[in-house]
Symmetry: D2
Subunit: 139 residues, 4 copies
């Protein structure tokens, strides 16, 4: 259930070191997650339920530099569904190579907009997300 | 009635050309406008009136490059108040020098949030803003 | 010779007003220009000549708000080639509608990286760019 | 040896959820690190040695939302100096309160620009950084 997003590195993505800036990668990852959610019809679904996915942790490894003109491929998948949180795992590859540019775990809670509290991931919610879990274990 | 904002150029402000990116200057200008509005108590005032200042045009000249570690000073002032729009004029200087890095005219309309339409700038609204106009003419 | 770039509005493109932020549009326009230059093989060509295109003015009209989930189409074309500067004209449309979200003129000079001075656009340089001019007049 | 940076939340820092976007916090943290390095004269020092500090990991917890007009205080300090990497620990507070908005560990390596390899943190380099370690243990 791997989802792919492609982003080409442009001049405005770089910083003074001539490589993609550390903060910009988080926008790349967010772009990929919106694409993933869209593909699964999640955006409208959670909107209707009055639930918002709120990030509580991002743990990102920067493994290789990406520079001007390079094509990146971002792989996005659910890697864990816990009682009150879920983890989306994302890998940024230099497209067409075996070079891993960055990888990250994004931990979310599912917030009830009315109460402002994280809901327990059970019932329909769990059934919706669980089939997307990959067997692939990422640390 | 000139307002000053100071911003130091950092690595993440630069792009692949090692100078501040064209889009980033618009964030610098926005930062300075918030500072200006705050100083005059405008944010709460217009919030209470149900009015939102919405940008309809930005015309910015990029005159000199700004790079890592340089200190910028942004001067902000009202330069025109028209029937339905106003112009804020901003200049970005390399602090302590006569180098003008960029200058811009930002044209706003004052939107009534209920109707979604631009209001006529008259009465109290005009009296509030008019004294801030400088005699200094900028083209 | 119109070039199209498509960008979907995501949550991170918005600002506190829930619409695409004024500075973000300049990144959208830059994205589109890189796509345009790439399509014409300009990036490597000017790199080899030691020439850099440097923005000296952006004049952008914000005509309609763009919000979450909307698909934007950016049209990019050369609209003027002057002695020492050129103008790229760009329009941002709400895809599939007649709604013009923004339009902008981007004025460039062609900088000789060795001398740091703008070159005269003549000879091969002029021959390369001139055929791309559209008859369409934009004010 | 705690260093403080102050940033006021502005409209352009927010995203569609009306709170500071996850990627923007990384710019806030980078701003604070530049301020820290500057205070200690590190920027020129490492420049002269031909060393670049390159981020290999960011682990950030988002603990509370920050919204329009709030004043943030960012505390920056070294929390670990290992053989080939160092950790800078940063906390983002809602100024004047006990609300922790976010906290992050930023892991760096010290890259020799000539070889492109991480150097061992020993000798003068270690002596320069070690006194800055705080006793305060952050997990």
């Amino acid at each position: 259930m791997l989802h792919h997003t492609f982003i080409k590195v442009r001049g405005y993505h770089l910083d003074g070191y001539q490589h993609v800036n550390n903060a910009r990668y988080l926008e790349f990852l967010e772009e990929a997650r919106w694409g993933y959610l869209e593909q699964h019809g999640d955006i409208e679904h959670f909107e209707q339920l009055g639930l918002a996915w709120v990030i509580v942790n991002i743990n990102i490894n920067y493994r290789a530099q990406a520079t001007m003109g390079q094509q990146l491929r971002i792989d996005t998948e659910f890697s864990a569904i816990n009682t009150k949180s879920s983890i989306i795992h994302q890998k940024i590859w230099l497209e067409g190579t075996e070079t891993l540019v960055a990888d990250a775990n994004i931990t979310f809670v599912c917030l009830d907009k009315k109460t402002g509290r994280a809901v327990v991931i059970e019932g329909d919610l769990k059934h919706r997300l669980e089939p997307r879990l990959t067997n692939q274990i990422d640390i």
